[in-house]
């Protein structure tokens, strides 16, 4: 039973704690006067972030938790404020006095701490990494995020589904299409409608295109972090081409606003031509990169996430597949009919994650070809019914989970769990046998989202 998410909803009389597993969902009701729950983290280690988030957002006390530090609320956040409660209405906070955050640290003779972030040396998102070092060896790493917390969950409350769409598109720029597809599924559930096959194909095509762009960027950046810049030049050219294709199809380079219920014209001939070129380029790239021993010397056995730990931490997506877990939201008849094949490796190291990306890239090209068709189907959307809806989608990082409650036509509670939220919690395990200079490479091989994680 794979753990997926754990979150809180405020009802009129009580708090509901929802725990989502792969095959079942558990609902626990707790009183508002003394909101207390028992931790799940002793069995499911990645539940701890969900619980610490609840503690910050709703003021729920996790009785026997081994980690009660704040997660989302940082040093200067006003104490005892719980922004996701319905009675919280402030829109501007005053900075509170600085309260030191206690990092998980290993101490001892000659052991020292290295603090990295939140602002990193490069064009990337902010997050903090705290290393305990014995010389070059990493003894421990604590990943600390939520610098980018924009209060998306609160922002969407009280909006209609239509009003929420432009915000949902912009939660994580790299996964915009995946977020939109999750939103689309919830929209269709709420209107009790079926999606015509041709529209489904178009959306799946865009999702694979987004995956292609993301993976192309990664297969350039991963070798670049191992000092092999030529790969970045090569792959970033391909990803720019793919991004221009996205612009051609949707009118936006990141596909914001692309998932709608109206099929528009696609120039299939030129798209096929581009796919052929891309296929050749990727094959050339693979052939070339596989022949560079010094690169594989860095990739192999670096940043291993063993299968056992990958399962224990309920990892998803590329990371899970590189460690030998067969998990992918695309394992269903629709995708299998269109040429989906699961990419999987067993070694769980940087090399495995790189190879999974390459394999998925090639599979995406096959699938895009199968999804491509000229069509102008339109779906007239009907009235929205109240209810509690959930949906899943396989983004370029991994399984995305979204839950929206609608009451009186307005969003009552919005919750989304980015694949990164699970995977960040497993990143520290990958560090155990490596030196600190390997960290950027390991981090890039996972390429997780900060914006989607922080919300």
């Amino acid at each position: 039973m794979r753990f997926i998410a754990r979150f809180c909803k405020e009802k009129r009389e009580c708090f509901e704690i929802i725990t989502v597993y792969e095959e079942s969902t558990k609902i626990e009701e707790i009183s508002k006067e003394s909101p207390r729950i028992k931790t799940l983290a002793k069995k499911e280690p990645s539940a701890i972030w969900f619980e610490r988030k609840m503690q910050d957002d709703f003021g729920i006390i996790i009785e026997d938790a081994f980690d009660k530090r704040p997660l989302v609320h940082q040093e200067r956040f006003p104490r005892d404020l719980h922004p996701l409660r319905k009675d919280f209405k402030e829109i501007q906070l005053q900075e509170a006095p600085y309260l030191q955050y206690k990092y998980e640290e290993i101490s001892g003779d000659g052991v020292f701490q290295v603090a990295v972030g939140p602002i990193h040396a490069g064009i990337i998102e902010p997050g903090h990494f705290q290393f305990s070092q014995a010389g070059e060896e990493m003894l421990h790493l604590e990943v600390r995020h939520f610098y980018k917390n924009r209060g998306i969950e609160k922002m969407l409350e009280g909006k209609t589904l239509q009003e929420a769409k432009p915000i949902i598109e912009r939660i994580s720029g790299n996964e915009s299409i995946a977020y939109q597809i999750c939103y689309r599924d919830i929209y269709l559930q709420a209107t009790k409608q079926e999606l015509p096959l041709s529209l489904r194909k178009r959306h799946a095509l865009l999702l694979e295109l987004e995956r292609t762009i993301h993976h192309l960027t990664d297969i350039g950046f991963i070798p670049n972090d191992a000092g092999f810049g030529a790969a970045l030049s090569f792959a970033s050219k391909l990803s720019e081409d793919a991004r221009r294709k996205m612009n051609e199809l949707t009118g936006h380079r990141f596909g914001f606003g692309a998932i709608d219920f109206e099929n528009s014209f696609i120039d299939t001939a030129s798209f096929h031509e581009w796919l052929n070129d891309l296929k050749q380029s990727v094959e050339f790239f693979e052939d070339w990169i596989i022949d560079i021993p010094s690169l594989w010397d860095r990739f192999d056995t670096t940043g291993i996430l063993p299968l056992k730990k990958a399962v224990k931490y309920a990892t998803v997506g590329v990371i899970a597949r590189a460690s030998g877990i067969a998990i992918d939201r695309r394992i269903n008849p629709f995708y299998l009919e269109h040429g989906f094949s699961l990419a999987s490796e067993v070694s769980g190291d940087v090399a495995a994650r790189f190879k999974v990306r390459l394999a998925e890239l090639q599979n995406s090209i096959v699938m895009m070809r199968n999804f491509l068709e000229e069509d102008d189907t339109k779906l007239e959307v009907t009235e929205i019914y109240d209810g509690e809806y959930q949906s899943f989608c396989e983004s370029s990082i991994g399984e995305l989970f979204m839950a929206i409650d609608i009451k009186d036509g307005l969003i009552e509670r919005f919750f989304v769990r980015d694949p990164s939220f699970m995977n960040w919690q497993a990143v520290h395990i990958m560090m155990s046998s490596d030196i600190i200079a390997d960290f950027p490479l390991i981090n890039k091989s996972c390429d997780l989202s900060y914006a989607g994680n922080d919300l």
Binding site: R76, K148, R150, M155, S172, A451
Partner: protein, 168 residues
């Protein structure tokens, strides 16, 4: 490796040739001249994300792909604020990032400027002001130039840099 060199010879230079796009040519020339005149040939930029969706970052990364290759015009993204002339701010200035953004700005040696990028810092993106958002950035820092767009594409960013260079 020989395969790669063969490919490279065949592919040639793909950096967008000025003769292909007249407007790009003009931008390139002007940026180069302005950088040379005002920053002695090298303008160093420190990009700081204060809570964006990562699309603006992706577009800034795209500036260094072979099509645009910004560095040949003398504009560099640097790793430390202490090496920078300009801070490029994206995102909505989240409550948690605000102190860090201000600190990064303090670390830049004078004279220094701020360019904001994307619709977020000016609160023109669909995001709504709430407890976690401190934008607009102009309330916290003095912004010299704003590059609009959600996200601005690489050419728009280049045009933005040029406008900034003309302004100062």
């Amino acid at each position: 490796m020989i395969k790669f060199w063969n490919k490279r010879v065949k592919l040639g230079v793909i950096t967008e040739k000025p003769e292909l796009e007249e407007s790009l040519k003009k931008i390139h020339k002007e940026i180069k001249e302005n950088v040379k005149k005002k920053f002695a040939g090298s303008l160093a930029i420190r990009m700081v994300d204060s809570g964006s969706c990562n699309a603006c970052e992706a577009e800034c990364n795209a500036l260094s792909n072979p099509y645009f290759d910004l560095e040949r015009l003398g504009i560099y993204f640097v790793a430390s604020p202490r090496h920078a002339d300009v801070m490029l701010v994206s995102g909505v200035m989240t409550f948690n990032m605000t102190p860090h953004v201000k600190e990064a700005y303090e670390q830049i040696p004078s004279p220094k400027w701020i360019i904001s990028i994307g619709d977020c810092p000016m609160m023109q993106a669909p995001f709504e002001k709430n407890y976690a958002i401190n934008a607009p950035v102009t309330e916290h820092l003095e912004v010299t130039h704003h590059i609009a767009g959600c996200p601005p594409n690489p050419v728009e960013i280049m045009e933005g840099f040029l406008e900034f260079l003309k302004k100062i």
